[in-house]
């Protein structure tokens, strides 16, 4: 009944806007996405029969713009959710709707909205369909630009949790100032500086949670605040981005109900000019898991977002052991060097060669335990030496064009992975990875792409942990694009030493303008899927997959 009312309200509002705002009929845009899957039992890879035979996630977005008014809605259906998605998504309905008014100074949004303050250390409401993550806020947001260069944002709402909302109320304020726009004396300066301040607060009702001493309950803070300050400066080829965030006492299930204050520091420096760039990133995160419900773990109801410091890779085996950001404690540093070997040199060849070097290392914090739930938990040193190693990625990537029709890529890397970041103890995995691909243009409408990857690992398969990624791997991919719109792909993966399973997949696809249809069949390896350091478990599957997406 409630959903019907919302739908009627949405349609009614759209009609009113379209009829009252002059003769302009406005513009309707949108997109439709359908992801379907079947899977049957395959003991070799550990996949299960799907009782409903077919799993299907579908999304239909509609947006209407007319002058300063905008409105939109999204219908979602999960019959039933794809493997690895939270089962609470099961069902269908209007998941998202909003109305917005915008002029030069003001932007008002009512309904569902996404938002990010700075890099997200204190607030990021966003959607990632690959992860099954949607923590949109439902409420009201006001953006106000009193003068050029200043944007103030105020918001209040509750977070989406599948078909429900988190019990907590999220309030936020953000101020973003472009100093060169505000002060006329700086308008011509080569140094451009933006600064920002954010404050976010969560209110959640009291509940009964005992301390380690069951005679006592926790005296919970009902309002938990988090504040951040940020700066982004550029000067010629140089840029510096820094953000600090602090979080008040927030005893919650992920930190073991301790009262320690949280903090996060991000630093990102970069020097970039044509053909060369170098960057250095550092990140320290301490007790910064911040959700709108203190007793919820998993992927839902995150208020903030800690960016991943790990280097994203396009080759599959570099992502076999993706790094999941440890929001409750990590210290990392990452350096990147990009340069181009000049044309006409021995290594550069006729077109030049792009080189990318990356080094990332991430560890735990150096901490000392004070007590359990109902205490400050632990103390931590700013850097310290008593840290547990989480992750290392050392890689070199080359990209070279041999001729107008032939180009190739090559990547070699050494990755050290601690399974504790996925929640289970074990030995460090040391992985060597080699990957290469060649793309051949065979005509105006035909492209052949070949890819081969190899991973050698000292990880051993253990039936108790049942991590089917363990062992050594080989992969070959053949991809052929033809007739401008079609492609076929075969992907052959096998674990040839101390592991389990061969994972072969075939896929065909059709792409036309903004539409894409892909049908695949084969085995999908059990593993972890991560986007930006946020991860979800992907169970093994063996069956058909269909993906369709279009926008209009």
């Amino acid at each position: 009944m409630k959903k019907k009312s919302i739908l009627l309200l949405a349609v009614g509002a759209l009609c009113i806007i379209s009829t009252t705002w002059g003769q302009n009929a406005g513009r309707v845009s949108g997109s439709v996405q359908i992801e379907a899957q079947t899977s049957h039992r395959d003991t070799a890879i550990g996949s299960e029969d799907v009782p409903s035979r077919l799993l299907l996630n579908s999304y239909a977005d509609f947006r209407y713009d007319n002058g300063p008014f905008s409105a939109g809605l999204r219908f979602e259906a999960y019959h039933n959710p794809l493997l690895g998605f939270d089962p609470s998504y099961k069902g269908a309905g209007l998941a998202h709707y909003f109305f917005s008014y915008q002029n030069d100074q003001l932007e008002l949004t009512a309904g569902h909205y996404y938002e990010q303050f700075g890099q997200g250390l204190v607030l990021r409401a966003y959607e990632d369909r690959l992860l099954g993550l949607d923590n949109a806020l439902q409420g009201v947001r006001l953006k106000y630009r009193p003068v050029k260069g200043i944007t103030l944002t105020g918001l209040i709402g509750r977070q989406r949790s599948a078909w429900d909302f988190g019990a907590g109320i999220v309030r936020g304020l953000d101020g973003e100032m472009a100093l060169n726009s505000i002060f006329s004396t700086l308008s011509e300066s080569k140094t451009r500086v933006n600064i920002g301040l954010s404050f976010v607060s969560r209110f959640e009702d009291d509940e009964s949670i005992t301390s380690d001493n069951p005679a006592y309950m926790l005296n919970l803070p009902l309002n938990v605040g988090a504040v951040s300050a940020r700066m982004h400066m550029t000067h010629g080829h140089f840029s510096l981005q820094a953000e600090y965030a602090g979080k008040g006492q927030d005893p919650n299930i992920t930190n073991g109900y301790i009262y320690k204050y949280g903090s996060a520091v991000l630093l990102n420096t970069q020097y970039a000019r044509p053909g060369f760039s170098a960057s250095l990133r550092a990140q320290r995160v301490d007790n910064m898991d911040f959700r709108s419900v203190r007793s919820r773990s998993g992927d839902m109801l995150h208020i903030n977002y800690i960016p991943s410091i790990a280097q994203p890779h396009s080759y599959t085996f570099f992502n076999l052991y993706p790094y999941a950001t440890q929001t409750n404690g990590e210290l990392g540093i990452q350096g990147n060097l990009y340069f181009k070997l000049r044309k006409g040199t021995a290594l550069g060849g006729k077109y030049g060669t792009d080189v990318h070097l990356n080094y990332t290392t991430i560890s735990s914090l150096d901490t000392m335990r004070i007590g359990g739930r109902g205490t400050d938990g632990y103390t931590s040193k700013p850097i310290g030496s008593n840290r547990e190693h989480y992750y290392t990625d050392l890689s070199i990537e080359l990209s070279h064009k041999f001729s107008p029709t032939v180009k190739a890529g090559f990547c070699a890397g050494y990755i050290v992975f601690n399974p504790i970041v996925e929640g289970h103890a074990g030995q460090l995995h040391h992985n060597w990875v080699l990957a290469t691909d060649v793309t051949l243009k065979l005509g105006s409408r035909r492209v052949l792409r070949l890819e081969a990857e190899w991973l050698e690992s000292d990880s051993k398969y253990d039936a108790v942990v049942d991590d089917k990624r363990c062992g050594d791997w080989l992969m070959e991919v053949v991809e052929y694009h033809f007739a401008r719109h079609f492609f076929v792909q075969a992907n052959l993966q096998r674990c040839y030493h101390d592991g389990t399973g061969n994972y072969n997949q075939v896929a065909v696809g059709y792409t036309h303008n903004a539409s894409r249809l892909q049908v695949g069949y084969g085995r999908q390896r059990q593993g972890i899927v991560c986007v930006g350091g946020v991860c979800r478990e992907m169970p093994a599957s063996n069956g058909l997959t269909v993906s369709f997406i279009t926008s209009f």
Binding site: L173, F199, P214, A215, Y216, M217, T375, A463, V464
Partner: protein, 285 residues
Amino acid sequence: MMHKPHILLFTCLTLAAFVSCQKIENDSYLRPAGTVGTWHEGVGVSDKNQRVLLEKYTGPRCAFCPNADLIIADASARYGSKLIAAAIHDSSSFGRPLGIVDLRTDEGNAWCQYFEITQHPIVMLNRTKENGQWLKVDPIGGVNDPIQTVLQDTAGVAISIRCVSDADSLLQITVNLDALTDIPGELMLNLIITEDSIVAPQMQSSGQRLDTYIHNHVLRQVITDIWGTPLPSTLKKADRLEAQFEYVWNSANLNIRHCHIVAFLTEKESHRVLNCDQCSIESAL
């Protein structure tokens, strides 16, 4: 530049935001446990036997746990209603699901850590201690003797439970206590939901995985707080108390016909279980 009303508005919003956070001083992190449920004088309990709560820590990757299940099933047949079992799937590496069915609970994880459970399968009987250490029994070696030892004790308090469910998934739980002797110290009443006949994968001692394994007595939800809800007062001999609890349960993944509500009374300080009872859920419709 910025107009004064705008400055005022933003200042007010900023101040409002900053007062929207709390600081709790170090000496105020804890407060005495509160009361949940409505207590009043009870009607007494007819069955005054001592019963034993058997908590089995287990997991789908524990290859020897099915052997323990057989032994516990034999014990259940032997001791009948005097033995109440709860199978706790915890966060150890044994507890990670083999398929899409995840039987772990936050409370089970917390108990596993608190009781320092490192071995699976392992059994605790009435959460007792021996020589200052939690008494844990390897069920593969048999559980009948330790159960018999517990049952030989004379019950200090009798307990009974009844539960009715309506169409809105509201459980109305009635617990009766009958003090058979003076019981010094504060007591906690614990209510949990267990479920039988859950079909989910389980490793076997042969090293093979059985996808159609039937899991029984599985801890599914904890109704009270993790360590229970306190009684309004200490119990003196002949005290009779009755409490009513209402609980809206998350029935999405539970089969109500296979569920039991388990009530057990513990000492607040030691967590020792004094007595327990369980009931199936009656339909009020």
